[in-house]
Amino acid sequence: MRQGTLEQIYTSSQLRDGKVLNALAFPFLFSSAFNDPFSTDFVAYMNNPLSEGTSLGIPTPDIRWGLCATKGAWHGFHTDSDGFGTFIDVKVGKKWWIIARPAKDGMADVTNFAGIKTFLNEKFDAGLPGNGLWILEAVLLEPSTRL
C-alpha cells in the first residue's frame, strides 16, 4: 500500500497509460445511517432503552464509506473485516464482484467457511481463484445496482 491523493487518481484516470490505482475506505463522516432490512445494528441503536445514557453514537465513518479505482484494479481474495456484512452501490463505472461459496460436496453450506483451516489451508492463496476450496460466482455491478 502506498500513500497518494485523489487528485493523482483522477489524473491517472485521464491518461491513456495512467497507473492502475485502487483507493478504499474513504470514511463518510456525515453520511446518514438508514434503516434497511438487514441492519440489526440500526435497530439496536434506535430501539434500545438500555442504550440511553451510554451511547457514543453510531460509528458512521466505520460503516459508511466510499471507494474509487481506475480501470484494471484488482483486489485479491479476502473477507471484509470484523464480521461485517457489506453492501456496495456503484455510482460511476463498473465493478466485477467475484464471490466465493463453499465447494464442500457441491452443497452451499456456508458454515464451511467457519472451519479454522479455511484460510490456514495450504491451498489458500489470496492471488488465486480458490484452488478448489470454493465455487466462484461473479456479479457485474453497474451504476444504480447494489450488491
Binding site: 434500545n48 460509528p59 474509487c68 483486489h75 461485517f84 464482484w97 464471490i99 480458490g130
Partner: protein, 83 residues
Amino acid sequence: MRPNTPHAVFTPEDAICHGGHYYAASTMSDTFYGIVHSFVVDKLIANIQHQNSRRMIRKIIDLYYSAFILKNVDDDSESIAVY
C-alpha cells in the same frame, strides 16, 4: 454480501462506489466466524480493522437482552422482524 465471504474485485472501468457495513441477526453466526478469522489470520484476509464494530455488537447484545430477558419491546414494532 454476507459476512465472512471470501471475495475478489476487478475494476473493468474507472469506478466510484459508495458502500456500507451492517450486522444482521440472520447472519450473526457468520459474523462470529468472520471476527475469529480476522483475529487469527489478520491481514492475510482482511485489509482494515474497525475498533468501533465491537461497540455495535454490544448494542445488539443489549437489544437482545432488553427484548428477550426484560421483555422490553413493543410487539407491534417492525424492529421485532430483524431479531
